[in-house]
Symmetry: C2
Subunit: 231 residues, 2 copies
């Protein structure tokens, strides 16, 4: 087993259930709108929006602001433009209120006894801090694309974790529910631990959680990862 | 009482006892050297070193690296250059191992029940994370000059806290043991809470901790501040 010191966690989908949390608030806020479709479309807009930032088409823009741009477009698309500014602002901050998966707090708490645990998320610092405070996610450090001025999968984000802690990249392991994120981390010399989150996109869109041989670890929960790492 | 949401804490001297922690390790590592003088000189070198960064003479440099530059100069000055690279690296990281004042953990824990609590320190992220993990400082978010690319008292640091949390500056209060830091925060619209730390420079250099009328609060410990804020 490699001698990791720092575990860096992807957050959306890996530690928290964005689908369930967003769908619930969308359903309550926008009756008559298909909350499942709305939620999936909101999340699907996030990759292209980040791409506009990374390509230089948009200047540096926080995820809170990208979420709001996508939300405003979706409200027009579903013909629900009547939601006022305060309502839009509150709904947009649902991403600060995402609930952890049932195993997350216990798993992180156990992992933290042996490792330094930090986020490595494209979410902005304020969002991640609100989420952690609300749910008791026991991060040693909240790191974000906002610190590095680049979004994952830019190598500066993965290498940035090693730089912050002044250690070699191979002492850091990324923990994520997404093989592309993990592959980018491995290309920078980090270890990679895949977490199965078959319900990430909801019960009607079960995700393929098959192992990929290149990952250092494959676990079905953060508690399982803690067990694999002897925590 | 103003309606603060976020309390941002200066760390060195305010939350942790740099003098006592550094002096103890200096005395153990460099027998024969005057640990009191060495400690005070190391700390005194930090302001001018930051000034070289802020003036542009040096590019952006983390506090860990500034501390190391000063340490190397001091070791020559006290004629103790024999300390090897591993020893210098370890001694330099004493700043990651600073012990909290006796009231800090309880005070922060109480303040955290009502406020979001974050650091606003010139110390780098890795240093602050190591310190928090070691001592159980329960930060909701670790913010540093490293995030803003500027050192206090640059306004971008104080205003940066408000920006990160997407709130107005008057919803943020800086908590510090240094009137100049608090004055700079007030100039940016933040509240200011002074904490008496008469022993910051050691028992032979008792600090004047007289109140300044402009501060929003004046407390003799973080537990006292929690009491003043009803936590």
């Amino acid at each position: 087993m490699a001698n990791f010191e720092v575990l860096a966690f992807d957050v959306f989908g890996t530690v928290v259930d964005w689908y369930g949390s967003v769908k619930q608030e969308v359903a309550a806020t926008l009756p008559g709108v298909d909350a499942d479709k709305f939620t999936l479309a909101w999340r699907a807009g996030y990759g292209p929006a980040m791409q506009r930032v990374m390509s230089g088409e948009l200047g540096w823009t926080l995820i809170d602001d990208l979420h709001r741009m996508i939300l405003d477009e979706l409200l027009v698309a579903v013909q629900a433009p009547a939601l006022d500014e305060a309502g839009r602002r509150h709904l947009n901050r649902v991403w600060h209120r995402l609930a952890p998966w049932p195993d997350s707090v216990e798993g992180l708490t156990r992992l933290r006894t042996r490792y330094t645990i930090c986020t490595l998320s494209n979410g902005n610092l304020g969002l991640l801090a609100d989420m952690a405070k609300r749910s008791g996610l026991p991060w040693d450090l909240i790191l974000s694309a906002e610190v590095f001025g680049k979004y994952k999968p830019d190598p500066d984000t993965y290498l940035g974790v090693a730089r912050v802690f002044d250690i070699e990249p191979d002492r850091v392991m990324l923990v994520a529910a997404h093989h592309n994120d993990l592959a980018a981390a491995r290309n920078c010399g980090l270890g990679s631990a895949y977490i199965e989150r078959p319900l990430e996109f909801g019960p009607d869109n079960i995700k393929d959680v098959s192992p990929v041989a290149e990952n250092t670890f494959h676990a079905n929960s953060l508690i399982h990862l803690a067990e694999l790492l002897g925590c």
